[in-house]
């Protein structure tokens, strides 16, 4: 176990998984955007990133990415994503080779899964707001991406 996974997560869920909630997240985001606009979705996800994940966000603001790195590792493992996570001098590089959420939507024949990637970008922005960090997300394939956590230039 690395130093990052030793960090205490505010929410470390256990037990079984209800993967259909990925479809619910996608549809909830789509519903808010379709009915109230992009700014509304940004507001909802901003509140999620800064209030629900208050401790993770506040650590980033203080220059400490440890909870975000631990959160990535814990939930990507728990969901069964194929990924690597490398800590760097000023952050981390998350390389997702096969995203468990997108895979589940495909298995369920639910289209528009890339909406989850757009929501992830907004969540990353919320996490990093008022912090010295940014997360650059590059989609590298149908179910793959690279997310670079780094200090802002």
């Amino acid at each position: 176990m690395t130093e990052s996974t030793d960090q205490v997560l505010r929410y470390a869920s256990g037990g079984e998984l209800h993967r259909d909630f990925h479809a619910s997240i996608l549809d909830g985001a789509n519903y808010v955007r379709e009915n109230y606009g992009e700014a509304a979705l940004r507001e909802v996800i901003f509140n999620t990133g800064t209030k629900v994940y208050r401790t993770l966000h506040e650590k980033l603001v203080a220059g400490d990415p440890s909870e975000l790195i631990a959160w990535w590792r814990y939930y990507l493992d728990r969901e069964g994503s194929d990924y690597t996570l490398a800590e760097t001098a000023d952050g981390a590089v998350l390389t997702v080779r096969d995203c468990a959420a997108l895979k589940h939507l495909e298995n369920r024949k639910i289209s528009g899964g890339k909406g989850l990637c757009a929501a992830t970008r907004l969540l990353n922005e919320a996490f990093c707001s008022r912090s010295p960090y940014e997360i650059v997300l590059e989609e590298t394939g149908d179910r793959s991406c690279r997310q670079v956590l780094r200090r802002k230039a």
Partner: protein, 163 residues
């Protein structure tokens, strides 16, 4: 990625946003959720009736880690949530819970049950207590009798129906 474990905390943020827009906006969203949940449930509810409902909530009991008991007979399906994992997660949260969080459940379940041709009576018990109970009846008369008994016990606000 928002983990599937944390969907309900995101859901709670959507509810608070919609509640600020007006209570009717929450109800409009429940209709959308019902439409989407029908994708996962309606065919089985129509085909298998009360057993189809049991099978669906048995999967939910396991996947969502619910502390619940449920069963069905010739007259009704019944579920009693001893500890609701959804509201429990929303209460164990650094963000504020939506005061009407519990209402989403009868909000979507009732619609899908009605589309399947059945009658739901839902006892929220309390909106800050992670417990609830609901029945699905084949006949409206049986559902009305259950509703009347529950309203006498708890009052109108906590008892939801789809008829």
């Amino acid at each position: 990625m928002i983990p599937s474990d944390h969907f309900v905390k995101f859901y709670n943020e959507i509810f608070k946003f919609l509640e600020r827009k007006g209570p009717e906006e929450l109800d409009r969203y429940y209709a959308r959720v019902a439409d989407r949940q029908a994708f996962f449930t309606l065919e089985a509810f129509k085909r298998d009736g009360l057993k189809g409902m049991y099978d669906y909530w048995e999967r939910i009991r396991i996947e969502e880690n619910c502390d619940m008991v449920h069963d069905y007979n010739e007259v009704f399906y019944h579920a009693h949530m001893n500890t609701c994992p959804s509201l429990s997660k929303v209460l164990d949260n650094d963000a504020e819970p939506c005061g009407r969080y519990c209402d989403h459940c009868p909000g979507w379940v009732g619609r899908v049950i009605a589309w399947a041709g059945y009658f739901m009576v839902y006892d929220l018990i309390g909106r800050t207590t992670p417990q609830c109970e609901f029945w699905v009846f084949k006949t409206k008369a049986d559902a009305e009798a259950k509703r009347a008994a529950l309203v006498a016990l708890r009052g109108e606000d906590l008892i939801k129906t789809n008829f």
